[in-house]
Point group: C2
Chain length 348, copies 2
């Protein structure tokens, strides 16, 4: 059976396009508050689980040994815009590990935000691996390698750290497996955009992991993971710009709501969040993979349904869950909005 | 009932994302060869019908009176990249009407192709209305106004030409209504990205219009429309770069296949085509509105199913209907491809 339509693009009074998907909202004990669509089908969580993947960086003691600050911990969980502020923090982090851009194995892409790309082009430049949206996560992996290498030459040890069997990636996968409680040995595996493995996990388990990490509670959550998760969440809440950047949903929402919402988008329209005050975790997948058009709208509706908001916050979220669409002349031609079906499902 | 999945994004062996949609293939007498999904639901055709909207420019005699050449006729049917070659042709066309960029009412946007936008930024510039992907269509409207104005001051007459009741737009809408055979007075109306009206029309009627215009036959097709359509198709076939531009599906396919395929993409994943040799018209709408990710893949599969291709042409189309997905390191991580359901449906 097809998943329900969660987000619709209206032109005038007519639905022009529709985004189907599934959303799970769970508490830390695994109780399902919302199960709209198929939340048991495994989906690749992509970058939505970067905070879970950064847990070993903290739990291993690597973050303390290298003296990483909150900006650096925040960017280890980020899909950033590759803006100058992001690039500087990643460089600083690599320097603490005694490494530079040459150690990054994430590949290079042009920043996706037009003005960031334009600024590089206007200066006659080209992007490098530091501009890659995953460079902070990869710098975190390299910092973790500093502890795991046990005295072996770091550069040599770290080579190929993106491979599933490398000790760095084994530690990262183990943290993902433990926090989601999902057996990843049996899970479909793919290669992510930045070349690390990505494992398909049901939305139900992803929501559970973010409920656990958001609250530090729940049967089976290891104390070390709870502590590391809390530290990473606080770091992101202190520096939401590091999590994404200018004109980005995650940054705007966490700048407004602080520690009351931790949220992280992933490629192909996966979106995970913790609502610590409510003790809840959320996981969304839009079937067609459209992040900006649909996953963000659905997440805004979930925040509206579950987080206590003052008027100003409510206005911000409403602009994200029910946004006017304007054309090149600035004329309002329609709206991009959460469907009644999604809102009804969220309100139980 | 949900439309079938026409295009799938694979990561490894797992389907990561899926695009549902509908496709109609008809002959000029209205016989349905393919009806996959709901082809009776009205959809906004957006830019996919620009050739139909350019018919009055030719039929009215305006194209001849102003001495428009084939490049200019081609760009009147285009959603172009705003590259220097496009901008020059639109400027030339406006000059023939005694107008300039100031007369265009399409609005301004940054070119969507990164390298085109980067080139403007690198030169310290900003885009103007000539760079708008619809500027050629709008220049065509202004040339049509030259004939319709009947001696009144053109600049004054043309002001507000994007409004539904302006004589220019009435002529354009009448051609759309006549070629599709669909009553547009009753149709849902929206405002398009470039501010002209867009009317929702069933895929069935859009495919019929392109079968008629591709063959010049079919009950109810006016001889003047048949002649104008043939001239516009030939102009595009001579200058496929004008129809879209660098790295674009429409340009690449029509450069390879010449007059054997006329195809035109529209926003929100509508895609129309004529296959004149086969006497067929095609209309596709992907439900979620993702053009590059899905409508193009589905159209490539339709061309493979209905157009006789030599080996080199078949290779090109297969790369478009079943494309490897590579990550930032160039590693093949999956594929974007037509589903077996679509291919089976196309092969009847």
């Amino acid at each position: 059976m097809a998943n329900p339509v969660l987000v619709e693009a209206m032109r005038g009074d007519t639905r022009e396009s529709a985004h189907r998907g599934a959303i799970a909202v769970l508490d830390a004990d695994g109780k399902r508050l919302v199960a709209l669509g198929d939340i048991d089908r495994p989906v690749f969580p992509r970058s939505a689980v970067k905070l879970l993947q950064a847990i070993p960086l903290v739990e291993s003691g690597a973050a303390d040994r290298l003296g990483l600050d909150d900006e650096e911990l925040a960017i280890a969980c980020a899909s950033h815009n590759g803006e100058p502020g992001h690039v500087a923090v990643v460089e600083r982090m690599l320097a603490k590990a005694g490494l530079d851009v040459g150690a990054l194995e994430c590949g290079t892409h042009w920043p996706r935000i037009g003005k960031v790309a334009n600024a590089i082009a206007a200066a006659g430049g080209e992007p490098n691996a530091l501009n890659n949206n995953c460079s902070g996560k990869h710098a975190g992996f390299l910092c973790l390698a500093c502890v795991l290498c046990g005295g072996v030459n770091l550069s040599q040890y770290a080579k190929g750290y993106v491979a599933p069997r490398h000790p760095v990636m084994r530690a990262v996968t183990e943290a993902l497996e433990a926090t989601t409680g999902h057996d990843l040995r049996q899970a479909p595996r793919g290669i992510d955009g930045c070349s690390i493995p990505t494992y398909a996990i049901p939305l139900d388990r992803l929501a559970l992991a973010f409920a656990r990490i958001g609250t530090g509670t729940g049967t089976g959550l290891r104390p070390g993971h709870a502590r590391a998760g809390a530290r990473l969440r606080k770091a992101v809440a202190q520096h939401p710009f590091m999590a994404a950047g200018s004109d980005r949903f995650d940054t705007a929402v966490m700048e407004a709501l602080g520690e009351r919402v931790y949220c992280k988008v992933g490629a192909e329209a996966v979106f995970c969040a913790s609502f610590p005050e409510r003790g809840l975790g959320v996981a969304i997948k839009i079937d067609d993979g459209n992040t900006a058009r649909a996953a963000e709208v659905a997440m805004a509706a979930a925040i509206e349904a579950f987080v206590d908001l003052d008027d100003e916050e409510a206005d911000l979220l409403r602009r994200l869950s029910d946004a006017p669409l304007r054309n090149w002349n600035g004329i309002e031609v329609g709206a991009l909005r959460a469907t009644p079906e999604l809102r009804d499902g969220l309100n139980g």
